[in-house]
Symmetry: C2
């Protein structure tokens, strides 16, 4: 059993209105040093596969087919660890 942490974010070339809104709100709260904010999705996937390679293949397939929009988003597997080690 493995746990993967995946980041799915808009391509840098694509405007992120939600990020702009968050940045504006942080400035309103006095955090003027915040230059930019970009938001996305964080996904934790637990996969019952025998090897890390097999687990990664399933996670990539999940991203390609469902989790990430291939036209507007990029994804990155931030971590892939044996399931027992994750606290999240």
């Amino acid at each position: 059993m493995f746990t993967a942490h995946v980041r799915v974010t808009l391509r840098p070339s694509i405007l992120d209105p939600q990020g702009k809104a968050v940045q504006h709100a942080l400035h309103e709260l006095g955090m003027g040093s915040v230059e930019s904010v970009r938001t996305g999705t964080f996904v934790e996937v637990r996969v019952d596969e025998p090897t890390p390679e097999a687990a990664e293949a399933v996670v990539r397939q999940a991203c390609d087919r469902l989790l990430a929009n291939p036209v507007t988003e990029d994804y990155e597997i931030l971590a892939l660890v044996p399931a027992e080690e994750t606290a999240a």
Copy 2:
């Protein structure tokens, strides 16, 4: 200038209906080895501060005051690096 990557997720004790829906969809797509899915928010924050400590303080303040709901969510700073090094 520093870039922080932040994960904001529901507390493990809290039901994640969105995660359940994603898991169900992945099973429908033939990825039966997916045991569980938990979703959250990924935030990239660029902060114009002179030191990593100052940048981290701003990011923690942003999480405490806006990005993470203190009642239902946990947050974690996954990375804090000089801004030039990030690709995202």
